[in-house]
């Protein structure tokens, strides 16, 4: 339930309300369509400009306030040419050593739209958010109702059974009931005398101890569900889920190497150079925007990014992540074999990471778990040139079309232990 969804909801609301407004106030439309302006802003301007803060270029609210619309149009369309004829423009160019890209493709109307978007006061999201929250609550309430109804049904059934018995007893049909202690004494006497039962019980006890003991011992060192607290409250859900960033954008060595690799700080900064804070209303557990913005600051500290002056200070401090998935040294695992060659989705082993705020270990990572998959998985021999010859030989020899990984030798000890 993070930033982007809200934002889209908000924007939809905004767009519809604005459209509503425009419908009745046509005379205002000469100033530009803010909705279209937003689209254009995101596509063309957002890489270098923010509305209220400087990024590579100055904050646009400030610029739009300072300059006339005509001046802005001339500047945006071709600032280099405009600098030659306008003194203000020359001065403006000194803002940053990086020259601004020219946008000759934007029409006057487009620029008007963008200006309208910039000038438009920031909406305060109200209805959308509360509506969403209500929806969640009601769905939870639905479940509770089922439980309550179930419980009532159960109580009713018990009452019915009791009533039936009482009626039977009153009718005199029921056998005479021994007192509870009498019953117990009888059972105990019978039990004491029955050696075979003793024997059975002891066997049962031993077997169950062995069974549960072994089961418990097999869980030693299995860290399924391990979810340590990481030094930075990084949410995979926001990144991989909501923003749909590909896993291998950050974990790029998974394609090439045995390790998937934890992205180095500079990879984070590809985006976070221009994303200094989370979207409004982002909530992670009980933590809100104020807390999460500080987490981005932690990244800046680690890579040595001065977010005020937008430059690297050179003072770096690597981030010490807590490792979650950890195979023992004697087991060799290669990501590229599984990701590149076999084309297995990351989620097969790592679970729905795009839904996890804090990542946990989804699979047990036991040898049984590895082997089970190797037993079942069929090797795709059609695409890869390496398997072509082997496939021909197999087809010739056994007349088979498909083989499992285990049949290919994927269960031999030496394939993973050396």
């Amino acid at each position: 339930m993070k930033s982007v969804k809200y934002r889209s909801l908000i924007s939809k609301l905004a767009i519809s309300s604005l459209a509503f407004l425009f419908f009745f106030t046509l005379n205002l439309s000469a100033q530009g369509d803010a909705a279209n302006g937003k689209k254009l802003f995101n596509a063309n301007c957002a890489a270098c400009h923010k509305l209220d803060k400087k990024l590579i270029g100055p904050g646009l609210i400030e610029s739009v306030g300072k300059r006339s619309n005509e001046w802005l149009k001339a500047w945006i369309k071709d600032n280099a040419a405009f600098q030659k004829v306008d003194a203000d423009a020359k001065e403006a160019a000194e803002y940053s050593p990086t020259a601004m890209t020219a946008f000759p493709q934007l029409s006057d109307q487009d620029i008007d739209d963008i200006i309208a978007y910039v000038k438009k006061p920031k909406e305060v999201p109200t209805a959308g958010v509360s509506g969403g929250a209500v929806a969640i609550q009601s769905s939870q309430a639905d479940n509770t109702l089922v439980y309550i109804l179930g419980a009532i049904m159960l109580v009713m059934l018990l009452m019915l059974f009791n009533l039936y018995r009482t009626v039977n007893e009153l009718k005199g049909n029921a056998p005479k009931r021994l007192s509870l202690s009498e019953q117990a004494d009888g059972v105990w006497e019978a039990f004491k005398g029955n050696k075979f039962l003793h024997f059975l019980l002891v066997i049962f006890f031993l077997l169950s101890t062995a069974f549960f003991g072994f089961g418990w011992l097999s869980t030693v060192g299995v860290d399924k569900g391990y979810q340590p607290i990481q030094p930075i409250e990084f949410s995979h859900k926001i990144h991989a889920g909501d923003n749909k960033i590909d896993c291998q954008y950050c974990h790029s060595s998974a394609k090439h190497s045995k390790m998937s690799g934890i992205p180095s700080g500079n990879v984070c900064m590809n985006c976070h150079k221009s994303i200094a804070e989370v979207a409004d209303n982002t909530v992670l557990g009980e933590k809100g925007k104020e807390y999460l913005d500080k987490e981005i600051q932690k990244l800046y500290k680690a890579v040595g990014w001065d977010s005020e002056n937008l430059q690297y200070t050179g003072e770096t401090m690597p981030i010490e992540w807590i490792r979650i998935h950890n195979l023992p040294d004697f087991a060799y695992f290669n990501h590229s074999q599984h990701v590149t060659v076999a084309g297995i989705k990351c989620q097969k082993c790592h679970g729905p990471v795009e839904e996890m705020d804090e990542v946990y270990q989804y699979s047990p990572l036991t040898m049984e778990w590895c082997i089970d998959c190797h037993r079942e998985t069929e090797v795709d021999m059609t695409e890869n040139g390496y398997y072509k010859k082997i496939h021909e030989q197999l087809a010739k020899k056994f007349g088979v079309e498909k083989v499992t990984e285990a049949q290919m030798g994927g269960m031999e000890c030496g394939k993973c232990h050396y």
């Binding site: 934890i262 700080g265 770096t316 010490e320 490792r323 074999q337 030798g409 000890c413 050396y418």
Partner: protein, 1014 residues
Amino acid sequence: MASNKKYWKSVEELDENSSIVDTLRKNEFVEEIPTDEFLGDKESLENSSTTRRDFLKYVGFSTAAASLAACEGPVIKSIPYVVKPDGIIPGVADFYATTMVDGFDFANVLVKVREGRPIKIEPNKEAHGTTNARVQASVLSLYDSLRLQGPSLKGESISWADANSQIANKLEQVNAAGKTIAFLTSTDASPLTTDLISQLGGAYTDVRHVIYDSVSESAAIDAFEVMYGSRALPSYDFSKANAIVSIGADFLGDWQGGGFDAGYAKGRVPDHGKMSHHTHFEANMSLTGANADIRVKAKPSAQKTLLADLYNAIVNGASAKDANVAKAVKQLKSAGSNAVVVTGIQDKNAQLLALAINKTIGSEVINTSITNNKRQGNDSAVAQLISDMKSGTIGALIINNSNPVYTLASSSEFVEGLGKVDVSVAFSMTNNETVEAVQYALATPHYLESWGLVEMKKGQFSLMQPTIKPLFDTKQFQDCLLQWNGKSETYNDYIKNSFAGMGASKSWSQSLHDGNFIASSSALESSSEGSIDMSAAYSSLSSTKGSELELQLYTKIGLGDGQQANNPWLQELPDPITRTTWDNYVTVSKVDADRLGIKNWNVADGGLNGSIVELTVNGIPVTVPALIQPGQAAGSIGLALGYGRKVGLKPEMQTGKNAYHFYKDFNSSQSDVSINVVAGTHEFACIQLHNTLMGRGDIIKETNLSTYNDHSLDPKHSWNPVPMVSLRHQEVEATSVDLWDEFDSSIGHHFNLSIDLNSCTGCGACVIACQSENNVPVVGKEEMRKSRDMHWLRIDRYYSHEESFSGDDTFKEEAASGYISTMSALEDPSENPQVAFQPVMCQHCNHAPCETVCPVAATSHGRQGQNQMAYNRCVGTRYCANNCPYKVRRFNWFNYAQNDEFDFNMNDDLGRMVLNPDVTVRSRGVMEKCSMCIQKTQASILQAKREGRSVTDDEFETACSSACGTGALVFGDINDKESEITAMVEDTRSYHLLEHVGTRPNVVYQVKVRNTEV
């Protein structure tokens, strides 16, 4: 019927009245056991507040607490780069071409780098690089924690800026005082270093550059200068040789800088029925002598007269006096210009005669225009320098990568002279004796951290580039030279600028990528002008008088000149001939040993013990252990250089005795020698207890060239017979009988390794390569002595009992005496035995005896032919090792990593950086063995899968096959019918070790063909 027999425990029981009988009935022992005394002071024990019950409570509680605490797993951190370097992908190895130069060894190498750490040295085959054991092991010397870690002045550390400015000031003062500034450097074969030193001549009036080799080839260089006009060594291409006569030249060892083995081995494989013939005259049993077809024992003085005899026969056409020389002459003459004579005698006259012989026969093997720069030392210049130092005319002495205080025989004179020098500076990577003796000790980087340009042969240049950021506060000698020359550029820039003006065959980037380039050399042209008085040289040599006992100094395959003495891999590398580790010793012949009362014997645990002798050479006595060496020329003894260092070495590495004391006048043979046995016993760490083959010709199959060439013979029934076994009372071929079902390995890969006994010289590079690739631990001298070596690959060395191995077979068959006496006679090697080397690693049997006996299925068979070992499954019963007919399994008796008892590289944060992250570090109590480098084959397969193609033949390599410079080890996939290995397996020479056992190994050997007459 019950027995009436009565048994007595002791004679006392016969006497019914004995009190002892009564006591024994009540107590176990007659005397009361002094428990209280045993437990110490009775009183204090009683007063102790901790009762037994309390003690047990504490033990129980702490055990429970410890095991509860252990249930929680450790928190493991993963720390990514802040900014990841572009070229690095974590988990993927990068390879860099560079050049190994340490003044003794020179090689074009490829360095495997993982996450910025060099972990393995491979030969750079595209640049014709070969590696020996020391080059392979040099990567560990990078991670030597006792290296010099920064500049220091008289033991106090100072900054580089201070050091440089102080030295520059002092050089000015020395120059003003009119004294000489002298540079003493080892051979680095870099024209740029020489240039930089000579450029200093611009600023200072008297600059002298002396090149000093710890193990000198100065005599050969002097002789070349006389004959060809330039101070250099000729180069040799032994692959062109049909006849080789060597008089004391250990060219498979370190003779003239080494690196001749690849060419030599090429001529040793019978190709179209031809192979080279090699006659060898020597005193010590060397690697080269062991590989020769005819080896003649000759003590150093005899070598000189033999050479004179040979010269007289070839050049003057006289008939040879010596029968062996006459045979050699015959061989040389029949080979025409494809013959060569080489000598290792450190005598200018001897070297002149050898050059003259080669000139007379018009040898194509020797090349006098492409000169060899691996040794450039000048003995007389060194001697002059020392005398000038003593007379006080040297104002400053700057030493680079040289340890004269340890390596000079006249070390005390050098130290005395050093006291009279105003400024003494030593650039050194290691902490050593010279570093301690000088004022400024300046730390230099390892070659893997350095830039360099090397000209090993004239016009053939190699580049050196750093593969890791310098570990310590080090600076290259050349960087400082540039600074003293007043230049601001770095040595890296200087190389690039010089490169631009060299007219190289390739661009800078391409040259750096390949590691080498060709360019015209600035070195002097050699001319064959000038008249030389050869008769004087001849007469001085032919009139050589020997002494009763002569010493021949030599360098070992392991330690070489001793610079890498703190490298435990090299200390533990078994000497290929004596198979002894962690030691140097006097090698004596059996005749001399008997005469002097020197003994060698094996004790109950198998360890070899030997007498200790006092060796006096030129009046200097040293006590050293003595080893009886078959093949040692009577009247000569051998002793290895490079041992006995103390400074900058861990205590375990301070092995042996310093033989440089005896290296008087840089002459490797000394005649003023006496020896006598002193009290005491020395414990050797020798790992081969049995030295002879005992006539078991099926282990090392041999034939001679004429039999091999006889096409009327069926190899399977003549020189490469298949062993026969009895099946249903019928003799059948062992390979036709099978107890087990055949594995189907026809699909996918099936790996085989071929070992050619003809081209294997026994050099041991593969042993170190395997150790480096597979994280094989070092176990130390004590454990080696107990035969608990961990090397996955060993090179067995066998001697013959008779003059030849075929003689052994005949001796065994025709033995007149009984079986036991015949066999015990066969245990003694001959006075001059034939020698055979056989590398043995896990044979990866298709029907492996180890697999069937493992109770926990920790070792199993893979369909790619590898016998796999799962360490985490092994419980250490050692059944497999006992059932292995090849004895190739190794047991971890201890934890060798992070254990203070084994203070080698794995007990050292820096030393552990060399470990291969793809191979498990084995723990105590598990068995291990050669895996056929499954991590390498798997990596090659994965690479092909990722790229969607099939694997090419040359991609499959093991560490040993890749390190083998002679091509003796060939590895590949026999399901690829086009591959080299398939041809080797199907060759008529191929056989399996102990074929009659029926193990069906995946390692094949090639029958050794000797070029000897029947």
